[in-house]
Symmetry: C2
Subunit: 221 residues, 2 copies
Amino acid sequence: MTLIVHHLHVSMSERIPWLCEELGVPYELKVYNRDRLMAPAEFKALHHSGTAPVIQDGDLTLAESGACVEYISHKHAQGKLFVPSTRPEYANFLFWWHWSNATLQSALGGAMGAYASGLREGDPRGAFAFGRSKKALSSMNDRLGHSKWLAGEAFTVADLMCVFQVSTFRYFYPIDLGEYENIVGFLKRVGEREAYQRAMAKSDPGMELALGSAPPSQPLM
Amino acid sequence: MTLIVHHLHVSMSERIPWLCEELGVPYELKVYNRDRLMAPAEFKALHHSGTAPVIQDGDLTLAESGACVEYISHKHAQGKLFVPSTRPEYANFLFWWHWSNATLQSALGGAMGAYASGLREGDPRGAFAFGRSKKALSSMNDRLGHSKWLAGEAFTVADLMCVFQVSTFRYFYPIDLGEYENIVGFLKRVGEREAYQRAMAKSDPGMELALGSAPPSQPLM
């Protein structure tokens, strides 16, 4: 039975078709347009979380992107793109893998909330949110000054998890990456991966990929 | 060399001594008082993230609670309390394990922010934040109506990761769990675990444990 990947346009569910392309795992892609800025009702009905991505594998329906990535790699590709506990880069891998959704997404989401409520950098009411966002981006930038990918010299799912926030997420919060040159270099390497190109062409055809220093020219918010 | 666990009082780093007690892994505990509400400078200096927990294992210094939990279990306890990919409850385990910091913490953190800025339930300006928080708690409550623990009938690190938000986190955001009876039952079972009792007595001695329906009687915020 073919794995089904439900993708909401312009969302973090882009990670899943990208993963399948990297792993060479066959998948059927179902794409959904946003209803104004949110997931449409038919997407929310797929899983009790109401969030993107959702995958289906036979009788199983699963949400939560970290869970979907781990499930697909371990059930369909012998754990490829994960780092085993016997490797010296194991701890680095674990840090950035968990950091993506636990810290980076939370920090940028908080800054997006401040931005959406009209606050701009320099406003003391946004100091905590914008400060946390800049600290997270600085950590990532520093790390990418020491190794090609986040866990070390090899691409892993820790990288795959951290790309959305510094690329497509800027449709919602228009971060300029001018002061984070190592992140811009990282995004350039991501854009050169054929699996990424194939996945994005299928998932969000026609969308301007935000892989440079500047945010997308036509953000959604 | 003994594992060192750096714990910030009244914080999610309580997960790490608890894990070590569950696994029977020896550890040296170092505890830090908060400086007003934040981590003190000496804690922030331990790791570039500036966040709690931090562990040290020989030359390694590691932060990010999901990473610390995964590292300790796999490097010191043969993966105990994780669910292998061959088990039928694997997908459920992955969902709740990742859900804790990616979705639950983010949802409750957003609601805490709204609460801290003076909003209360019923105020339309807090509708998104409070709604997301209630949806997350309802999902957890529904799940715990179908199985004893989140992944199934056995306690796993998915449970260990989800306890902080519905117990100690209420020192910062005073959620009443009256409408979530399955979560209250879950917290009762947590409080009966000897490993949890030992860890909390060492980590936050004298702190009123918030394991009932009501939030702590003396919240910090």
